[in-house]
């Protein structure tokens, strides 16, 4: 039953609603008839004649009885009619129900059929879809494969190209570097030659004398001459300096003096650090040769 209701909820609801409607209609119909009866039996106050009360009563009773009977008859008829109606209605209902059921069955059949058809269609569609999908997938796969292939090919190509380009660039760079190195060497040589020419020029000029004098003064001030540094002493010291004049080493290379003379010379150079900077940069030499040759 529940399952049926669930399955046919709409017809069941309609049926129940219809039955309810009928009952209500019946109730209202009864009521209306009663009201109508009451309204129709209201006495008319004009033309009243006094009569014997019993007669009247009897008459009234009679009339009332008649009315009551009529009413009862009417009620019975009505009940009968209602019953008939009810019966009819029930029959109709039954018929409707049957029809409904039949319709439902038909509908169900239709639905079933539709479902079946839909399923079939769906199946067909599914098959079709599957086929399409398969085909699409196949196509996609093929496409992907093609794409991959193409990509690989492209990549390989790109790589080859890149490698080729790199190799080419490397070769070019190498060639360029070699060319530059050659050019640099040439430039260096040229520059060196030019610098030396300039240096030669400056070295012979007054700036060199100025620089030499500045160095002499600084070192004379710094040399604390030991007693053994008498005339006849001749010592060469190789001085390494950095731009700015700071002495990084002082090496006595040749000396006919004793260790005290050598040490005093070495100390003089360190004490003179930083050495004066040359008036012309070309006069700067990382290595200077100082000759200590006391004449007094």
């Amino acid at each position: 039953m529940a399952g049926f209701l669930r399955e046919n909820s709409r017809p069941a609801f309609l049926s129940i609603a219809l039955h309810g409607l009928i009952v209500v209609a019946l109730l209202f119909a009864t009521d209306f008839s009663l009201h109508r009866a009451n309204l129709g039996e209201q006495p008319v106050p004009i033309d009243a004649t006094v009569v014997d009360s019993r007669v009247v009563r009897a008459a009234i009773d009679e009339r009332n009885n008649a009315a009551r009977s009529a009413a009862q008859a009417r009620l019975a008829a009505a009940a009968q009619a209602a019953a008939r109606q009810q019966q009819l209605q029930a029959q109709q209902q039954q018929l409707a129900q049957q029809e409904r059921l039949a319709q439902q069955q038909l509908q169900a059949q239709h639905q079933q059929l539709a479902r079946q058809q839909a399923a079939a269609a769906e199946h067909a569609q599914a098959i079709a879809d599957a086929r399409v999908a398969r085909e699409a997938s196949t196509r996609a796969a093929a496409a992907a494969a093609r794409t991959a292939l193409a990509r690989h090919a492209a990549e390989a190509h790109a790589q080859r190209r890149a490698a080729a380009a790199t190799a080419k660039r490397a070769a070019e760079a190498k060639a360029l570097a070699a060319a530059r190195a050659r050019a640099a060497m040439q430039t260096d040589l040229q520059r060196q030659v030019a610098a030396e020419e300039h240096a030669d020029e400056v070295a012979r000029g007054p700036l060199a004398d100025e620089y030499r004098a500045a160095l002499q003064n600084r070192i004379i001030q710094a040399w604390i001459k030991p007693p053994a540094a008498h005339p006849g002493i001749d010592c060469l010291v190789q001085v390494s300096q950095v731009p700015g004049g700071e002495v990084t080493s002082a090496r006595v290379t040749q000396c006919n003096g004793d260790s005290a003379v050598r040490q005093s010379i070495q100390n003089a150079v360190y004490r003179a650090s930083p050495l004066p900077t040359p008036p012309d940069p070309s006069l700067f030499h990382r290595t200077l040769i100082l000759e200590f040759k006391p004449n007094e």
Partner: protein, 439 residues
């Protein structure tokens, strides 16, 4: 690089190499230095680590005093020291260089036993960071002064190339009191005047002390018998003997380099003074000069083959030299000024120290024997007399007058540094510097 460019590159490399090889010689910028400074060398003598509780003697302080006294060093004031290292590992060279020290001496003293001291010291060149010296001296309390002088000697020699003479001694005559109550003392003291010992005392004049070459004996003239006699005294024992007591003058003894003879000044009967050579073993006398003038104050040449002496044969006193070969004639050396006397030969034999008179004042001068370069006056006193070379030739000790007294004074051979030594009392006369080994 392809095969074609390779020879080109090689050629370039070769060229570059040649250029690199050639450039130093080409670039050599030679600067000649013909002069220097005579200034003192800055040195830091860091106070030595002392044994706990005991501070017997400031050895480092004495080293600094010696070096400063030589005039060739200027030791750093201790108050300026920012650090007190006691060993080479503790020296922060950059700091000491910033403080303008060229050298630094560090050391420490330990006491291995009562009255025993071990002194360890090191000398470093601050500029080159080289360790120049490292020594240990073992001594006792009485020897701490000598140890200080010995350290100063080592430092002096290491830096200047000249043996230090701080650990030597001097002898001089000290005259106490006034005529007629005078006392004459023969004193031997450390070269800095400290630690004086009286080796001979007399109420009569003592004169002309002279060190034997080995520093073990002193010859001197004593008037203790009212007449002058020449004595030789052994310093260690005090034993002495008369070596010359001829009639008349016995004066100015001078030891031969081998220590076997004395050159002396004797007078003949006429009172004429001439120079003789006395053989100490045989007492034989050999006359060297034969001149009616005064010939005195002999001094041996280093080879022992000639004598320098003072003579007034040409008028005023001048310096002469005479070979000891028979028949040789003296040769006059000094011609500058009217008074040149008391010649003393420098240890290297290159010059004489003498007393010269300049504008009526007696001063110490040197005379260049090798180049006959004339006199070089070193001192500035009024009565500077009796010069005597330190055995290293770096300084000359002499007697001068200060505040009315005769005192000891020192001048460096180059005349740059002069100092007057502490003299306790009396008048100092005729100082003579002992040889190395006279300690």
């Amino acid at each position: 690089m392809n095969e074609k460019s390779r020879p080109f590159a090689l050629a370039l490399l070769l060229l570059a190499g040649l250029a690199a090889c050639a450039s130093p010689a080409h670039a050599a910028f030679v600067v000649q230095i013909t002069r220097g400074q005579d200034t003192a060398i800055p040195i830091a003598i860091v106070p030595f680590a002392a044994p706990p509780g005991a501070s017997p003697f400031d050895v480092a302080g004495l080293v600094a005093q010696d070096l400063d006294g030589s005039g060739r060093f200027k030791s750093m004031d201790r108050r300026d020291m920012i650090d007190l290292p006691h060993s080479g590992a503790e020296i922060s060279f950059d700091d000491w260089r910033r403080l303008n020290d060229d050298y630094i001496v560090v050391g420490g003293m330990t006491m291995p036993a009562p009255d025993r001291y071990d002194i360890a010291f090191e000398l470093y060149n601050v500029l080159t960071r080289q360790r120049l010296l490292g020594y240990q001296i073992h001594t006792d309390t009485a020897g701490l002064r000598l140890a200080g002088h010995q350290i100063a000697d080592k430092v002096f020699q290491s830096i200047l190339g000249i043996r230090g003479a701080f650990a030597t001694r001097v002898a001089y005559v000290l005259v106490l009191g006034h005529v007629p109550h005078r006392t004459f003392q023969l004193v031997v003291a450390d070269a800095d005047g400290a630690n004086p010992h009286v080796v001979m005392q007399s109420s009569q004049p003592l004169m002309s002390p002279a060190w034997s070459p080995d520093g073990k004996e002193l010859a001197y003239v004593s008037f203790e018998d009212k007449l002058p006699s020449i004595y030789v005294q052994v310093l260690k024992t005090g034993a002495r003997r008369v070596v010359s007591a001829t009639a008349g003058v016995n004066q100015a003894p001078a030891w031969s380099p081998d220590g076997r003879k004395l050159a002396v000044t004797l007078s003949n009967r006429a009172g004429n003074l001439d120079i003789y050579i006395l053989d100490l073993a045989t007492h034989a006398l050999t006359r060297v000069t034969h001149n009616p003038g005064i010939d005195t104050e002999p001094q041996w040449s280093n080879d022992g083959k000639s004598l320098y002496f003072t003579s007034d044969r040409d008028g005023g006193p001048q310096i002469f030299q005479v070979p000891l070969a028979p028949g040789s004639r003296p040769r006059r050396l000094t011609f500058q000024g009217s008074y040149n006397a008391r010649p003393r030969l420098s240890p290297d034999g290159s010059q004489l120290a003498l007393v010269t008179r300049v504008h009526g004042k007696f001063r110490i001068a040197t005379f260049d024997l090798q180049h006959h370069g004339g006199l070089r006056v070193l001192t500035h006193g009024r009565f500077d007399e009796s010069p005597s070379y330190a055995p290293n030739g770096a300084e000359i000790i002499y007697a001068t007058h200060a505040a009315g007294r005769g005192v000891l004074a020192l001048v460096s051979t180059d005349g740059r540094v002069q100092q007057t030594l502490i003299s306790p009392q009396g008048d100092v006369e005729e100082p003579v510097w002992g040889p190395f080994g006279s300690e």
